[in-house]
């Protein structure tokens, strides 16, 4: 217990000493996670809205698939993308492996099913009169899509934030595609794993505390937005 409390005090001291290495790692993590969440939202939100609004063959099967993909192991995505991006892979010529872009792409695929599914839930939980009202007022299909998303913006934002939370907390994709290169692809989670292995428990704990703070801050912001909407 003494070891843990001493490490905790040292970790807090590191945070408030504004250790540049810690904050560089945090910034890298946040930047990669925001980028992947934005990319996944750019694809996933319209996709979720389209799946909800339109009826087509195989819709149920697609939804079952999306649900299953939410539980996709991060190392599996890491493995697949490693195969695609490695020098001998079909996308090897782009030289993306061990870059931030590789991690962003991998995490985007990881969180895409989450964003799509939660967007579908957000729209499905809208008042059943919303869509007929928009149709009745003469909204085109694109206008319907945009207005439904506008009406459900807080719930859709929840989908994005949940995706961000999943991205910032994952380690498999970041480790396999980023390579944990200091100052380039070292994220909070990969750094925590590395520093713990090295025996730098205080440093790892400081990063862990910052990771928690980021998660709390994002969720706090979401609550404020939700309350403002009500």
């Amino acid at each position: 217990m003494e070891f843990f409390s001493a490490s905790l005090v040292a970790a807090v001291k590191l945070i408030f000493a504004f250790d540049p290495e810690i904050y560089r790692i945090m910034w890298t993590s946040v930047r990669i996670s925001i980028s992947s969440a934005l990319l996944a939202s750019f694809i996933g939100i319209p996709l979720g809205a389209l799946i909800t609004i339109y009826e087509f063959h195989g819709k149920k099967f697609l939804q079952v698939m999306l649900n299953s993909l939410m539980a996709l192991p991060t190392v599996t995505i890491g493995l697949i993308f490693y195969g695609l991006l490695s020098r001998n892979g079909p996308m090897g010529d782009y030289g993306l492996l061990y870059t931030q872009m590789a991690v962003i792409l991998g995490e985007c695929v990881l969180i895409l099913p989450i964003v799509v599914n939660l967007t579908i839930s957000a729209i499905q939980s809208a008042d059943e009169r919303l869509l007929p009202t928009l149709k009745m007022l003469g909204a085109s299909q694109l206008q319907q899509l945009l207005l439904v998303l506008r009406e459900r913006r807080v719930a859709v934002l929840c989908a994005v934030v949940t995706g961000f939370g999943r991205a910032i907390g994952e380690v498999g994709v970041a480790m396999m595609l980023g390579g944990n290169i200091a100052g380039v692809t070292r994220t909070m989670t990969t750094a925590i794993a590395l520093e713990t292995n090295k025996g730098e428990f205080e440093f790892a704990l400081a990063l862990g505390l910052l990771l928690l703070s980021v998660a709390f801050a994002v969720n706090g912001l979401l609550q404020v937005l939700r309350r403002g909407h009500e």
Binding site: D127, R129, L130, P132, T133, K135, M136, L137, G138, A139, S140, Q143, L147, R150, E151, H229
Partner: protein
């Protein structure tokens, strides 16, 4: 080019939800343009479904729907929807102010801000709701919401105005204002108005035509004094009274009695009228020169009499009287399952 006088022409229309039974089955029905048509019928009769079909929100499962002489298809759906306006029974508003909601349809049509504000203000004035313009839609009462929903459609100046139970939450004063507005819309702009209502007398007084719906089918009956029950030994048993039928009919779950065929008297009439029940006068109202009396007996009856008859007999509220009618005044509306009791 002359504008067709038929707004809608329905032939062999069938509608069902999911894999359920048909909720609407109409062989032939035309709606005259520049007219007010009322749809009447009990809950579940198919009024709202029919309005959804006419608003191009629900595609029929079978049949042909023509709008001003042109066949309707999925290809011209947006153009068709933009020519009609539906005011739902429980309207939905998007988050924002009353004005933002009233303007929405214009915004979707690309009308500029200044023009939108001007037209929205005029529409709010038409429904006597200018005072609500800056209010959030979340704070509207049922009656206010109904009026704002109407303004939201009126602002689009539709060729056809469809209203689902428009008078449900409104007080008498507002109802009168809206009735005048509907008549003016028909007279000035040639708008076709189709509305659904439970109040059959109201329908008969306001509308040029009345369409009665029972269990998704058109019926000739005006559906006044409309009772559900079952036929037992030549009588229709509502559970509260037994009505003598004109002929031996085996099946039938609904009957209605023409309000003009009911005779009120101080004593039971000894005549060919085989249906006689004691009742109490509960209301006497004047509707377009006719006297409409409501009398409560084993069932509630609506009766239409002339002013002369009222003066002669001097009926008063609370007075005990007799309700008399011939069995020929009773119409068995149809043999239906009791799905909307």
């Amino acid at each position: 080019m002359t504008i067709p006088t038929i707004a809608y022409s329905l032939t062999g229309i069938q509608c069902a939800y999911a894999n359920g039974p048909a909720v609407l089955e109409i062989e032939n029905l035309d709606f005259q343009s520049k007219n007010i048509t009322a749809l009447i019928g009990p809950n579940g009769a198919g009024k709202s479904t029919l309005l959804s079909v006419l608003a191009f929100l629900k595609a029929p499962n079978a049949g042909r729907l023509q709008y001003f002489g042109r066949d309707c298809s999925n290809k011209n759906l947006l153009q068709l929807r933009r020519r009609v306006g539906l005011v739902a029974q429980k309207p939905y508003f998007l988050s924002g102010s009353v004005t933002e909601n009233v303007e929405l349809g214009l915004r979707l049509r690309g009308v500029n801000f200044r023009q939108r504000r001007k037209q929205a203000s005029r529409a709010l004035q038409q429904v006597d709701a200018q005072a609500l313009s800056d209010q959030s839609v979340k704070t509207l009462s049922g009656g206010e919401a109904q009026r704002i929903a109407l303004a939201r459609v009126l602002v689009l100046q539709p060729d056809v105005l469809l209203l689902d139970e428009p008078f449900t939450f409104l007080d008498t004063g507002v109802i009168k204002t809206l009735e005048k507005l509907f008549v003016a819309l028909v007279a000035e702009f040639g708008t076709t108005i189709i509305f659904s209502t439970h109040d059959r007398f109201h329908a008969m007084l306001l509308a040029d035509h009345v369409v009665s719906l029972v269990n998704g089918c058109i019926t000739e009956s005006p559906l006044i004094n409309f009772y559900s029950g079952k036929i037992v030994d030549g009588f229709f048993d509502t559970g509260h009274l037994k009505i003598q039928l004109p002929e031996p009919i085996q099946n039938g779950s609904y009957v209605c009695i023409d309000p003009n065929e009911i005779v009120l008297s101080e004593q039971p009439l000894i005549s060919t009228m085989r249906n006689r029940y004691p009742a109490v006068v509960t209301s006497i109202t004047v509707d377009s020169g006719n006297i409409r009396m409501t009398v409560d007996g084993p069932e509630q009856f609506q009766v239409l009499i002339t002013r002369q008859a009222l003066d002669d007999f001097g009926f008063k509220i609370g007075e005990e009287i007799w309700v008399n009618f011939k069995s020929t005044a009773v119409e068995v509306v149809g043999s239906y399952t009791t799905k909307f009791d």
